[in-house]
Structure formats: C-alpha cells, structure tokens
C-alpha cells in the first residue's frame, strides 16, 4: 500500500496495485482489510509508528530538550531519506484522505516535545503554535521528496530543528540550535 501510494498517490491506487505489489491474492486482502481505505489507515498508522519509534530511540538519553530535538530530527530525516515513500504517504496522501490521521501523526510529536520542554520549566512563548510548526516541517519534507531529492533530506536538519524549537524556546534559541545542528551534520 505504501509503495503503491508513493508512486500513484492514494487517489490513483487500486486494490489491484496493492495485491500485485504484495504478491497476495485479492481474497487474502479482503480477509485482512475491509477495503482500500481500511488498508491505507493501517499502512499510515504503521508508518507513523515507525517514525515515532525511530525519533524516540534517537532522542532518548539526552538531558537537554534542544539536544534531544536535534538528534530526533536528524534520525527522522535519515529514515525518510532512506525510505521517502513514508514521507510521500504521511505528508501527501494522509492530508487528502483524512485530517484525523494528520492529527494522530502530529500527536506523537507535539506532546513529546511539550513534555521535554516542560521538564525544563521553559514557559512557551505565545506567538508560535507547535501544531503549526509540525505542519510546516511536514511541508518542507514533502517538498523535497516530490522534487525528487530525498537524498537531500538530511540537509533539512537545521530547518526542522528550528521549527521544532522555536515554539518552545523562541526564535533566538531555535536559530542557535539550528546552527549547532548544521555544524553537527557537517562534522
């Protein structure tokens, strides 16, 4: 399902595309899923879980929220560079198919970020919303992938770090962390 959607988008994908890629019969497909939408929801949830686990593993063990964010962002972009179809499905198709799925995708990221900043006792500035920052990060990733440059995703680490930190620690700290992330990536 993920591979078919990445190539043809959800709208252009048929059950035939899915079963031929998976090398399973149509009967087996309908034993497992109610239909195209049901299979897509399961596939999208699986993609979200994979990204969430990757980010959580990379971010764990870092004391400071900024450090955890830098490492989490770098790991996420490496995963998406290796498997751009995850980004195509989550940033493209999910948006058109069901905004509820976007919220689920957003929901693993934003509370996690809020949590690590709250532990630091940093009061959130009121001018940037973490939910919107998430949408903006998704757009940057999607743009790079549809432009056919998934291998350049890791170069977005400073931008994603900036977007992820600015709603919590403000522009100046976010810019400082973005520069640091850029230097880490270059090293």
């Amino acid at each position: 399902m993920v591979a078919a959607c990445a190539e043809k988008t959800y709208a252009g994908t048929t059950i035939a595309d899915v079963v031929s890629r998976a090398a399973v019969s149509r009967a087996t497909f309908y034993k497992l899923f109610n239909g195209k939408r049901d299979c897509f929801d399961a596939a999208a949830t699986h993609c979200i879980d994979r990204i969430a686990l990757t980010v959580a593993a990379a971010a764990s063990g870092y004391e400071s929220p900024a450090e955890a964010t830098r490492h989490g962002a770098a790991a996420m972009l490496e995963l998406l560079a290796a498997e751009p179809e995850l980004a195509l499905v989550l940033s493209g198709d999910v948006v058109g198919v069901d905004p509820g799925l976007v919220e689920r995708y957003c929901a693993f990221t934003v509370p996690a970020l809020e949590g690590i900043w709250e532990r630091e006792g940093v009061p959130p500035p009121k001018h940037l919303s973490p939910g919107l920052a998430f949408g903006r990060a998704q757009l940057l990733v999607f743009h790079e992938v549809v432009a056919g440059r998934p291998e350049r995703l890791p170069a977005l680490v400073p931008d994603i770090v900036y977007l992820a930190i600015a709603p919590f620690a403000g522009h100046d700290e976010a810019l400082r962390q973005a520069r640091l992330a850029g230097a880490e990536a270059a090293a």
């Binding site: 940057l140 400073p158 600015a166 522009h171 973005a178």
Partner: protein, 220 residues
C-alpha cells in the same frame, strides 16, 4: 471569481476564436465550482457541462477528459492567486509593509470564497499522481516570488531557508482554516501570520514590531 455568462443564441457576430475562449472559460469556472462543491471523485463531465452551459462535443474538442479540465481550472485559479498576491508584494512601501500587504491579500483571497480555497488546496490530492508536481510547482512559485522581491539590506538568515519557511507558514495556516471550513476568520490571523513569516528574516524584536505594534498602528 464570476465567470462570463453564456453567449446569446443565434447570430452574435463573434469570431470562432472568441466563442471558443468564452466556452473554455465557462468550462474552467464550472469545473472549479463543481469540484469545490462535490469533491473531485464525485464530479462528472455532465455536471461541468450543465453548469457551464456548453455541449459535450465542445468539451472534448477543448479538453482530453475531466482530469485535464479540472487541472486546467486549478492552474488558472493558482495563476489568479499568484497575480493577486504579487500585485500586493510589488506595491508601495518598505519591505515589511509590502510583506504585510501580501499576507493580507493572501488571507482575503481565501476568505473571499471558501469553496475555491478548498478546490485550490484540498482537491488536488484527490486527482492523482499529478498532485505531487502541482504542489511542488506552486510552492516554488511563491518561494521565487519572495526571493525576487527581497531587500538587499535584510540580515542573512543562514542557515535557514527563510523564504521556504515563510511559504510553509502561510500554507499551514491557510490550509488548516480552509480544511476546517473556518475561512471567515483568516483575515484576523494577519498579525500572527506576519510574525511567523517574518521572524526568520528579521529576528524576534523586529518581527514582533512588524506583526503586532506595526499592524496596530497601520490599522488605526
């Protein structure tokens, strides 16, 4: 956007080209209107013909199929939006004032017709694989527009791609409101969006001034 009305029947003294232009325009307007109301999946060529008042044969002389007509309508609507915001960006005043005018023009354009906003932002995903190229080309047009009009004396926002961040901020805001059917409140988001857009270019203090203090003075 109100389209041209149907031509008078019988002898009207128009050239064949003028008739074709009028028919094409009515089909594009109808395609946008019907797709915005029903969604792409539910839109048929017959619906488009009924609203446009154009015959099936003419439709297929002008467009290969429903998809081609809807994509042409989408392209035309995007051109209209770009022209609208570009006019504001190239207007009078310093860069910050021009940015504020551009964002105001953007928000008002989307607030003006909720259905067309949906057609522009939400429906392309339902059309199929063309969606990827449409998204990329649209995004790039706005980034290029911002970059062309930049002031030389702006501080260097390295390492951030400030123009891409600005376009992303605007799309996120507008998409969220359009998808939720809350386009009426878009113009009220101007200070917020001005801040989000300008902060990577100007830094914290100047962006706050431009978005909140400057906007309050401009409104009084």
């Amino acid at each position: 956007m109100s389209g041209p009305s149907a031509l008078p029947r019988g002898r009207h003294g128009l050239t064949r080209e003028a008739v074709e232009r009028s028919q094409r325009q009515r089909l594009l307007d109808a395609a946008a209107q019907v797709t915005a109301a029903r969604g792409y999946e539910e839109t048929t060529v017959a619906d488009i013909l009924a609203v446009a008042g154009v015959g099936r044969e003419t439709f297929y002389e002008l467009f290969e199929d429903r998809r081609a007509c809807v994509l042409a309508a989408h392209q035309e609507l995007l051109d209209d939006l770009v022209a609208h915001v570009r006019a504001a960006y190239e207007g009078p005043g310093d860069w910050v004032e021009r940015c504020r005018a551009t964002l105001r023009a953007l928000l008002e354009w989307f607030a003006g017709d909720p259905a067309l906003g949906r057609f522009l932002l939400v429906e392309p995903a339902a059309v199929g694989p063309e969606f990827h190229a449409i998204f990329q080309a649209g995004f790039d047009r706005f980034v290029a527009m911002i970059d062309e009009g930049l002031d030389d004396d702006l501080p260097d926002p390295q390492p951030l791609p400030a123009a891409s961040l600005a376009v992303g901020a605007a799309i996120s805001r507008v998409y969220g409101e359009v998808a939720a059917g809350r386009t009426a409140r878009l113009p009220a988001l101007l200070p917020q969006l001005t801040y989000e857009t300008l902060v990577p270019f100007l830094g914290e203090a100047a962006a706050r001034e431009a978005a909140f203090a400057g906007a309050a003075r401009g409104a009084s």
